[in-house]
Point group: C2
Chain length 361, copies 2
């Protein structure tokens, strides 16, 4: 079932033959970060992520944002397993055209992101190349060996987000609006910071340890995360009728001004780096208590269903989304941003024209 | 004194403003891997390194070698601090022109290298871009919190290598010989494997813990490592008169056939990934005992001197090498391989013509 997704197939074909460490507690796809138990009993969480395609596509141009994201995409994976960060190492491929000012911005972004999350750059590596690429690796520890996994949700559990959704895709739409023939929504780096500066949900992840039945970050968007959780857990997710209230207000405004349907803020692949998690209905009071103690407000999105499908109430009815098509279209459209958006818009058209089947209520 | 080296200046300017983690035991430049003590007392070694410039320069073309080196360059850093590897995460930037066969070779190289060192790929990240780039991050543990550092050598200590030297630069010379107008010395991937397939000296590093007064790997060549140790320790290194006996025999043959002076096998920046280490003369018996138990033969290279200079006995006399010029010329020649070699050859010419001062004996 995982293999219906092109990205999963690529990972399997490339990494499928690697031997599994006897110290590693997670299987492939099961967790946002790799979990390793050391012989002295200490449990580590380790993750690596590059900022490459976002730069090449022109999505990230502000050096501060590039530095910030290099740190945050990795810390977000630690958050999604409930780990406490120890620090990061960063490998930088710089170009000879990077100015001193650009490099200063890049390192300010890295520094600010570490400071915001109370963690540190431990070291790194510097190379030069044709394209700017930053690769971060974050290491964390799992208190008492406890960690969150993507698997474990059961029908009847409730689905939550750690915060309002849609900012990641709204930012992508706004940042790339020039190439879509839309008016530019973001004018400068200052505005970028205001609308898109995701923070890894570290305290939220730690608060969910031993409570959430499953958890995953939305680094590739909400629908991609739910689709992966659906495939791993053999369950489905049904959004509440008022799901659009869970969208960030700026994201809603971008959607309105760009004439892009709101649900595409969940479907696009540029995520908001929030956590999606499921909790058993008997433990909702405990969730709310822990959330209050940790100063966050979980947003109820819907419910876990036994049928493996993702349903979203829309004007056209209660729609069962073709989440494989949504996830795969980044690959089937050959990485072209314009074709990618057109494919998503044609899915929306099919829904409104009734081509796509309605889900049973 | 570190600042006489362009690379050190770049690192300082980029990383100099990052805050230092209270859990990190090493300062910048002091160790080959970052050392972090966790709150439960466990000590980790962490390092990251990209294979980017070697691919862009045409030095690494065989996919198996690229995969192998992605693992080994990182494990070699763990070896140089005496750590035991826990595993690696690998971020791959693949190009759309990578064939299935190429990718199979790449992953075979990664697999073989992990197997050779008894370690594991824990996870990774896959992106696509214009250029193939692999970034590995290795995590290891330091038994009893002990680790090797680049600092601590004292005048009178003896200088050793973990094995014969020069293979890295001989390989670079042979692999790039076409662009130097020299006959090609390496004909296929099979031959590459025979002459250049470095193995991280993990058991050697562990055996040296608590014994070597300083240690560093030769990832950037022997002279670069010694120069850095000289600057960090405020000591010098004097090679033995029979230093050329410490060269690998294949490397010697390449030097002879290419008409490249042997000492450039130590000076070039493509290292052999051996360990250079210093041991107090009173503890040589202990070194030899530990080496025998661990099936390796330390090669005596010379002695640590109080004057911070690196001297090499040559035909022209006992030469004090301008190691800053040697290290910086990769930067001063703008990354052009041909100019880099010409600059090294002109240093050799100056030595033979007596332009460069002789060291006092």
């Amino acid at each position: 079932m995982l293999n219906a997704i092109i990205e999963n197939r690529i990972i399997e074909s490339l990494a499928g033959q690697f031997a599994h460490s006897p110290q590693q507690l997670n299987s492939r796809h099961e967790t946002d970060a790799e979990i390793v138990r050391l012989s002295d009993g200490c449990t580590l969480a380790i993750t690596t992520d590059s900022i490459a395609e976002e730069i090449a596509a022109g999505l990230y141009t502000d050096p501060c944002l590039i530095g910030w994201m290099t740190v945050m995409v990795n810390l977000s994976d630690l958050a999604a397993v409930g780990a406490q960060p120890v620090g990061l190492v960063i490998s930088e491929i710089l170009t000879h055209s990077c100015t001193d000012g650009f490099l200063a911005g890049l390192h300010k972004g890295i520094r600010d992101a570490c400071h915001a999350c109370g963690t540190f750059v431990l070291g790194g590596d510097i190379n030069h190349g044709d394209r700017l690429i930053l690769t971060g690796t974050a290491i964390g520890t799992c208190l008492n060996g406890e960690f969150l996994s993507r698997t474990g949700s059961r029908a009847g559990d409730l689905l939550f987000a750690s915060n309002r959704l849609g900012c990641g895709n709204a930012f992508a739409l706004a940042a790339l609006s020039g190439s879509f023939g839309l008016p530019l929504f973001i004018h400068d780096a200052k505005e970028t910071e205001t609308v898109f500066q995701p923070r890894a949900r570290l305290k939220e992840g730690r608060a969910l340890c031993g409570l959430a039945t499953s958890c995953m970050d939305t680094s590739d968007g909400v629908i991609a995360a739910l689709d992966q959780m659906m495939r791993l857990n053999h369950v489905g997710f049904a959004f509440n009728t008022d799901w659009s209230a869970s969208l960030d207000s700026w994201a809603q405004r971008v959607s309105l001004e760009a004439g892009i349907p709101e649900w595409l803020l969940l479907a696009g692949r540029h995520g908001e780096f929030e956590l999606l998690f499921t909790v058993s209905p008997e433990r909702i009071d405990e969730l709310m208590l822990r959330a209050e103690e940790n100063h966050f407000k979980p947003i109820l999105l819907g419910e876990v269903k036994s049928e493996p499908a993702i349903t979203l109430p829309m004007e056209a009815g209660n729609i069962q989304l073709d989440t494989a098509r949504i996830r795969n279209c980044a690959d089937t459209t050959g990485g072209k941003v314009q074709s990618y958006l057109e494919e998503l818009l044609s899915m929306d058209r099919e829904i409104r024209e009734g081509v796509i089947n309605h889900a049973s209520d």
